[in-house]
Each structure stands twice: as structure tokens, then as C-alpha cells.
């Protein structure tokens, strides 16, 4: 049985993650966004490491390391370089106002909590709060993806979703394959980032703003 303190710490990290997701939501500058994401990844890796510690599951440290290394360090740097290379205008034009996005975010958190309510406590160490935190992180990430007009911020949003998943997966005590899954996911993310590179390097798209990208579709209206 795990000490309540340990659980509280875990909750702390989870709550912190949600908080950082919110911070992601109201970033309106590219650099700020990326830095915030680095923070996001950092929090995740910390919580994973904590889980590894309290569950005595050393393999989770790998996940934590991956999260820290790739998502907190490599990818932010890569994104910064992309921005510099592509000269993407610094500001991120949102689809709807930041304020509205925040409101929606709060609604989402409420929704995720309501969804989790009926889950009985016998679900185990990862109590419904943590699960609802993870769910909110995922939903906020989705919201991020659809409320920004810009490929980079979409990638960031996606990666924050992934962090939420990692949070949930590592929180699920004794879940096998977590490491494999996180590795697989990191590959995925890496591919996405490389994808943006590809697009740019092939000189095919003047911008990485998605709404310009879709003009290259096969069948035009």
C-alpha cells in the first residue's frame, strides 16, 4: 500500500500538468508556446519519475528519461530552429479569442470530472481525480489543436495530448508495455516534427499555416 503522501505528490504533479496545459492555451507567442511546452514535458517526466519511484517500477524511468530528453529538450530546440528557419511570424493567430478558449477549457475540465464521477473508488491507486486530470489534459490538447491556425501549435497540442496519455498510462499501476508505447509515441511525434521539416525543405509550402496547406488538396470544390 502506498503512503497517502506519495499519492498527494502524484496528484500535485497531475494538477500541475493541467495547469501547464492551461498556460499552453493562453500563449500567443510562438516562443512562449514552445517554452511552456517544454515545461509541460518536464512536469510529465517528473510525475512519471515519481510514479516509477512509488511503484518501484524502474522501467518507468526510461519513459521519464525519454519524456525529458526528447520532449523537454530536443523537440523544443528543433521547433525553435524550425521557427527561425521558416521565419514564421512570431504571433499565433487563434481562431477564437483566448478568453473564449479558456472558458471552453474550463468547461472541458468540468466535463472530464463529471465523466469520471461514477467510477467507483475500487478502481485502484490511480483515483478518479488523477484520471480526470489526464482526461482534461487530453481534451485541452485537442482544444489547443483546433483553436490555433498554425502547424507548430498543432504539433504542440498533439504532444500535450500525448503527455496526458503518458500521465494516465504511468499512473495505471503495473500496466505493461508502457515503455514500448511511450517509445512508439515518441517516434510518432518525431515523425510529425520531421513532417513539418519535410514540408518546408521540399519548398512546396510557402507557410506551415494549415489553412493555406489545404489548398493543395486533390479535388477542388
Amino acid at each position: 500500500m502506498i503512503a497517502p503522501l506519495a499519492l498527494d505528490v502524484a496528484h500535485l504533479f497531475a494538477g500541475g500538468l493541467v495547469l501547464v496545459s492551461f498556460m499552453l492555451l493562453y500563449q500567443d507567442r510562438m516562443t512562449g508556446l514552445i517554452n511552456t511546452f517544454a515545461l509541460h514535458a518536464l512536469v510529465v517526466s517528473l510525475s512519471v519519475a515519481w510514479q516509477a519511484y512509488i511503484q518501484h517500477a524502474p522501467h518507468l524511468y526510461i519513459t521519464a528519461a525519454i519524456a525529458l530528453g526528447i520532449k523537454a529538450v530536443v523537440i523544443p530546440i528543433a521547433l525553435h530552429r524550425i521557427i527561425r528557419r521558416l521565419g514564421i511570424h512570431r504571433t499565433i493567430e487563434p481562431v477564437v479569442g483566448i478568453g473564449l478558449t479558456m472558458l471552453a477549457g474550463i468547461g472541458l475540465i468540468a466535463l472530464s470530472i463529471m465523466v469520471m464521477l461514477p467510477i467507483t473508488a475500487q478502481a485502484g491507486t490511480l483515483a478518479r481525480e488523477d484520471l480526470s486530470f489526464a482526461l482534461s489534459v487530453i481534451l485541452l490538447g485537442l482544444l489547443m489543436m483546433i483553436s490555433r491556425r498554425n502547424a507548430v501549435s498543432q504539433v504542440v497540442g498533439f504532444m500535450s495530448i500525448e503527455n496526458g496519455l503518458i500521465l494516465a498510462a504511468t499512473g495505471a499501476k503495473g500496466m505493461p508495455l508502457v515503455v514500448e508505447i511511450s517509445v512508439a509515441f515518441s517516434i510518432l511525434v518525431a515523425l510529425i516534427v520531421i513532417g513539418i521539416f519535410l514540408f518546408r525543405i521540399r519548398e512546396r509550402f510557402e507557410t506551415v499555416d494549415i489553412h493555406l496547406l489545404h489548398e493543395h488538396r486533390g479535388e477542388q470544390p
Partner: protein
């Protein structure tokens, strides 16, 4: 026994189709395929006739391990199937015989030969199918193969559209039947007809099934307003196929309706007997009016098919009305009338289509305005068509009259019906029937007169040549049958006895013992008709008169120019044209029925311009029913189409929306 023979016939037909597919390019494939179809259909015809006349052999069933796996394909040969098998295979044999000659002129045999036998097989299979799946399978297969035949001349303008509309309507009808059988079979899926008979549906379900069956079978038979495809598709096919579609396939549709409503559906409700005859009557009148307005020979024939289908459904509806009130004798009479008319129509409609085909091959024209005077160049064809025209106009002593007379007799029994609605409705339907009969007379005076009589309107018409002997053989066989069925109707009515017995539980009095082969549907004192005597008298008195006149008065005659009230003879263009012939009737009915608009452009005196008369006919069902549907589909498609052109973000929003919605649903549900 007979059933096995029929199954083998179907196999042989399919084999013939395969042979047609393989040999299509070869020389001599045409006579091979059509000859084979002729022989096979003849065998099937004999089998059907034998089993109809020797009712002992009826009721045989057979289950083949194909089709729906755990059910197998059920086949059954009962009186109803046997009768319609006679119709189908008679028409099929005639068409094959005709095609032996006509098929030579086909420019793309590869598109006809494989599908023609398949089409025949499909129709035959529908008739012996005894479970829902096999029935619908064969039904749709029939539609599909005939569609392929319609598309045979796909390069001719309009044919593609016709084929499209045809297959679409056919599938719609199949859907209706599918739902009907779904209701009949129930969730457990008892698709076999026997199982359905065991568990007749409740009244409400039966009503729905009736409507669905009316839609499903009606869309194939061409009931107004489901008829729109028919006048487009039937003429588009090669003529022998047109004959099959118009003369025979519509009968398969009638069979489907009878099978479902009379056999599977249990006792009818009285209002069915109001609905069906009304639809039939409207169909009959509308059909013949549209036919009158046509100048395209084959399209005219197709519309007249719509009319005759209407007449058949009048009879069926009356049978329902009587059966609902336990007046089994009357029901048997009405049913017999309807079925007999189905048989007759298959005869003369095929005959007339063959005539149109012969004209088409020898002149290359279907437009009556460009024909005329063919009776001089193609006397035999003209004679056969004259018989056909007289028969389809319900003139004694030919067969068309007999069935319509029987229908009238059935209508005259309506006062005995208890329901007031029926009391009033049925005579009104009788009025519609009388109207359509008279109008069809006008219609075929026009069709025959403009095409064969008068003076040739174009060079092609004046250089026409008599058609080949196969076609003539086919036409004269059918013409002879028309006369035979007209003067000896008793035998045909008796042959129908088992059907009436099976479906209504009653029979007309046996006809063949009556002296002079009179037919007496109910009682001598009530009504009777004797085509044989009439025929005999007419021929006798005509020949006596001719004899007397030529013997005792002058027999001299000389040729000269036409008198024409002393006007100098002018070009054939001054003849009455098809359009002008139907003008009075258009003036009388047209403004109401198809909102006919006439624009006369009469130049002022001294103005050299030619005066023009322009007539616009609107197809009302199309305007009020089909065009809106098409517009609706286009509208929806156009608006949904925007979803194809969202940004990725938009699509992600969709996903997000779906997720959130489901989560909310979940919270609400919990």
C-alpha cells in the same frame, strides 16, 4: 417432374447466355443463341401448359442448396406460377423466333446475346421461386439483365439516361419488396413462402405490406405515378427485348403482386379493394392518354402497356374487394378477367412491338410522322399489325374484348358489395375503364392508320420492303393466337380455373360444355358472350354481302386520283399527321391531364414566314414527384459536399465535437 424440367430450362438458358458471351464475336452466334432460347422456352412452355391442364402435377416443390445458406433456394410450381410461366415462355418463344430474323440487323450483338437468355432465365426464376431471397434475387437479376439490354445501344442519345432511370426505379421497387418481405418474414427470418403462409401477418402489418407490394410490383409494372421509366426504357432496348419487357416482364410484376397479396398476405381488408382499382383506373386512363400523344411508335406502345397494366390491376383490385366480402365467385371472376387480360396483353403487345420492329428494320424510322403507306410495301406485316391493333382496342371478336368484357361483368357485380365506398367507387372505375377502352381504340387507329395507311411521308417509307420470314412467322403466330383466344375464350377461362381455385377458393362455371362454346361468367340469363358465333356471323354476312353485290350488282372498278372534295392532289405532307390526328383529343383532355400548351404563331398577311404551331406537353407526375426528389438529393449533396473541403483543423474540430458529444451523452446516460 415439370418443375425439374423448368429448372433445367433455366440452367440451359444461363448456359446459352454464357455461350453468347463467349461466341459473341463469332459469326453465327446470333442464330445459335436465339435458336437455343426458342427451343428452351418452347420446352418450358410445354411443361407449363401440361402442368396447368393436368393439375395433378402442381404443387411440386424443390429445394436446391444454393442461395441463402441455411435456407436453400426453394422452388415451387403451383397453378399461379404455371399460368404465368405459360405467358412468359410463350412471349419468350415468340420473341426468340422474331429475333432469329431481327437479330441479324443488330450492330453490336456482343451487348445483346449474353443478356437475352439471362433475362428470360431471370423471369422464369421469379415465377418458380418459393422463398423471399430467391424471389428477390431473380427479380433483381431480371431487372439487371434487362437493364444491360436497354444499355445495348448505349451510344444512341437518351438511352443512357433511360437505362439509369430504369435501374434506379427497379432497385427502388426491389427495396419496397425487400421491406415487405422483411415484414412478412419477421425478425426470425422465416423467408420461405411456406413459413410465411403458416404465420399470416396482423391486419396492420398486412396493410403496410400491401402498400409496399403495390409500390414494389407497381414500379415494375408501370403503375402511375411509378411509370416514368417505362416509356423511356422499353423503347430503348432492341425491339424483341422491348416486346419482352412490355409484353412479358410487366406480367412478372403482376405475378409478384398477386403472389404477395393473394397468396402470402392472408385475407384482405375491404379498403384494399378501393385503393387498388382506383390506382388501376387512373393508370389506365393516364396511360392511354399519354400513348395518344406520342409520335414515336415504340413509345406509344410502351405507354399503352401502362394502360393495360392499369386494366389488369382494376381486375385484381375488384377481386380483392369481392374476396374481402367472401364473394368468392365474383372474386374468381374478377381474378380470371385480370389474368386473362394479362395473357391477352402479352400476345398483342408483343405482336405490335414486332410490327414496330419490322417497320424499324425496313425503314429505320420509329417516328410515325415520317412513315405512312407501308400497307402497300409490307402487306403481311400490316395485316398482322391490324389484328394486333383491333385486339388491343378491345374489339370483338378478338381476345382483348373478352377480358375487358369479363372485367365489366365483374364490375356489374359491385352492387352486392356492402361497403358504400365500394358501391360508388367501382362503377366510377368502370367509367374509367370504358373511357380507356374507347381511347385506346382512337390510339390504335392513329398508330396503325398513320404508320401503315395513307401515302408515304418520306422516301424511306416509300422504299420499305417486307420483313423476313422469321419475324413474319412470329407475328402471324401471335395474330392467330389473338383471334383464337377471342373466339374460343372458354378453353382459356377453363385453363385458368385452378388458379382461381387456389387463390379465391371458387371457380367460374365450366365453360367448355356450354353449347356453341359460349362463355357465361355467372348465369345464362345474366350475361353471355360468344365470340365464335360473332366471328362466324360477321365473316358470313360480309362474304355473303360481297358475293351478292359482286354477282348481282356491278363488280367493275377503276383507279383514279383521290377525289378529296375536288381539290387537286397535293404532296403527302397534306395528309393528316400523327400530331393532327390526336389534336382533338388533346384539346379535350390535354389541358387537364398534361397541361398542354399550344402556341400559334401566325404571320401577318404578306409576311413570308411559315406559320408555326407549337405544342408543349408536361409530364405531370414527373413535375410534381420526381423533379422535386431529384432537386432535393442534389441540394443535400451540394450542401454536404462542403465537408469535403474543410481545413485539417476543421476535421479535428469534427473529431473533437464527436468526442465531447459522446462524453456528454455518457454523463447524461449515467
Amino acid at each position: 417432374m415439370a418443375l425439374e424440367v423448368l429448372l433445367w430450362c433455366n440452367a440451359a438458358l444461363l448456359a446459352a447466355g454464357a455461350a453468347g458471351l463467349l461466341l459473341a464475336r463469332r459469326q453465327g452466334a446470333t442464330p445459335l443463341v436465339y435458336g437455343a432460347s426458342l427451343c428452351i422456352t418452347l420446352v418450358a412452355l410445354v411443361a407449363a401448359v401440361v402442368s396447368l391442364l393436368a393439375p395433378g402435377s402442381l404443387g411440386a416443390t424443390r429445394v436446391l442448396p444454393v442461395g441463402l445458406p441455411w435456407l436453400g433456394a426453394h422452388f415451387r410450381l403451383d397453378a399461379l406460377s404455371a399460368f404465368f410461366l405459360v405467358v412468359i415462355n410463350l412471349g419468350g418463344a415468340a420473341a426468340s423466333l422474331f429475333a432469329l430474323g431481327y437479330g441479324r440487323h443488330e450492330e453490336t450483338p456482343g451487348r445483346v446475346l449474353p443478356f437475352y437468355p439471362a433475362f428470360l432465365a431471370g423471369m422464369n426464376l421469379v415465377l418458380i421461386a418459393a422463398d423471399a431471397f430467391t424471389f428477390l434475387f431473380a427479380w433483381e437479376f431480371m431487372s439487371l439483365s434487362s437493364w444491360a439490354l436497354v444499355m445495348a445501344h448505349h451510344r444512341r442519345p437518351g438511352n443512357a439516361a433511360a437505362g439509369y432511370l430504369y435501374l434506379l426505379m427497379a432497385s427502388f421497387g426491389t427495396l419496397a419488396l425487400l421491406l415487405a418481405f422483411g415484414l412478412l418474414a419477421g425478425p426470425s427470418g422465416g423467408y420461405a413462402f411456406d413459413a410465411i403462409r403458416q404465420a399470416p401477418p396482423s391486419a396492420g402489418i398486412a396493410a403496410v405490406v400491401l402498400v409496399l407490394a403495390l409500390i414494389g410490383a407497381g414500379s415494375k409494372a408501370g403503375l402511375v405515378p411509378l411509370h416514368v421509366w417505362l416509356p423511356l426504357a422499353h423503347p430503348a432496348a432492341p425491339t424483341h427485348v422491348s416486346a419482352l419487357m412490355s409484353g412479358v416482364m410487366t406480367k412478372v410484376a403482376v405475378y409478384g403482386f398477386v403472389r404477395i397479396v393473394f397468396d402470402l398476405l392472408g385475407p384482405p381488408a375491404w379498403w384494399w379493394g378501393a385503393l387498388v382499382p382506383l390506382v388501376g383506373g387512373i393508370t389506365a386512363v393516364m396511360g392511354v392518354l399519354y400513348a395518344l400523344m406520342q409520335n414515336d411508335l415504340k413509345r406509344l406502345l410502351a405507354y399503352s402497356t401502362v394502360e393495360n397494366v392499369g386494366i389488369i390491376f382494376i381486375g385484381l383490385g375488384l377481386a380483392l374487394a369481392f374476396e374481402a366480402n367472401e364473394m368468392t365467385g365474383a372474386a374468381a371472376l374478377a381474378l380470371t378477367a385480370a389474368l386473362l387480360h394479362a395473357f391477352n396483353h402479352s400476345l398483342f403487345k408483343s405482336l405490335l412491338f414486332f410490327g414496330a420492329g419490322a417497320v424499324l428494320t425496313s425503314t429505320g424510322e420509329r417516328d410515325m410522322e415520317r412513315l405512312g403507306g407501308l400497307i402497300h410495301r409490307m402487306p403481311r406485316t400490316a395485316f398482322a399489325c391490324l389484328v394486333g391493333a383491333a385486339a388491343i382496342s378491345a374489339l370483338p371478336p378478338f381476345n382483348g374484348f373478352v377480358s375487358e368484357w369479363l372485367t365489366f361483368q365483374a364490375i356489374l357485380l359491385s352492387p352486392a358489395l356492402p361497403q358504400w365506398l365500394l358501391k360508388f367507387l367501382v362503377p366510377a372505375v368502370g367509367a374509367l375503364l370504358a373511357l380507356s377502352a374507347a381511347l385506346s381504340g382512337a390510339c390504335f387507329v392513329k398508330a396503325f392508320g398513320i404508320t401503315f395507311l395513307g401515302r408515304p411521308r418520306t422516301p424511306v417509307a416509300s422504299e420499305a420492303v417486307e420483313t423476313d420470314r422469321f419475324s413474319l412467322a412470329a407475328m402471324f403466330t401471335l395474330a392467330a393466337l389473338c383471334l383464337l383466344a377471342g373466339i374460343l375464350p372458354g378453353y382459356f377461362i377453363d385453363a385458368l380455373a385452378p388458379v382461381g381455385q387456389a387463390l379465391t377458393g371458387a371457380n367460374l362455371p365450366r365453360q367448355e360444355q356450354l353449347d356453341w362454346l359460349t362463355i357465361v361468367p355467372i348465369a345464362q340469363s345474366r350475361s353471355s358472350y360468344n365470340g365464335l358465333l360473332l366471328f362466324f356471323f360477321i365473316v358470313l354476312s360480309a362474304s355473303v354481302a360481297a358475293e351478292v353485290v359482286h354477282r348481282f350488282a356491278s363488280a367493275a372498278s377503276r383507279r383514279s386520283d383521290a377525289w378529296d372534295c375536288g381539290f387537286p392532289d397535293s404532296s403527302p405532307a397534306t395528309q393528316y399527321s400523327a400530331g393532327s390526328f390526336s389534336q382533338p383529343i388533346r384539346r379535350v383532355f390535354g389541358s387537364v391531364v398534361f397541361r398542354a400548351r399550344e402556341e400559334v404563331d401566325l404571320p401577318a398577311p404578306g409576311d413570308g414566314r411559315a406559320a408555326r404551331l407549337q405544342v408543349r406537353l408536361r409530364d405531370v407526375p414527373w413535375d410534381v414527384l420526381y423533379a422535386p426528389i431529384a432537386r432535393l438529393v442534389g441540394f443535400i449533396a451540394g450542401h454536404l459536399n462542403r465537408l469535403q473541403f474543410l481545413t485539417i483543423r476543421g476535421y479535428l474540430t469534427l473529431v473533437f465535437g464527436a468526442l465531447v458529444t459522446l462524453l456528454m451523452v455518457l454523463t447524461v446516460w449515467q
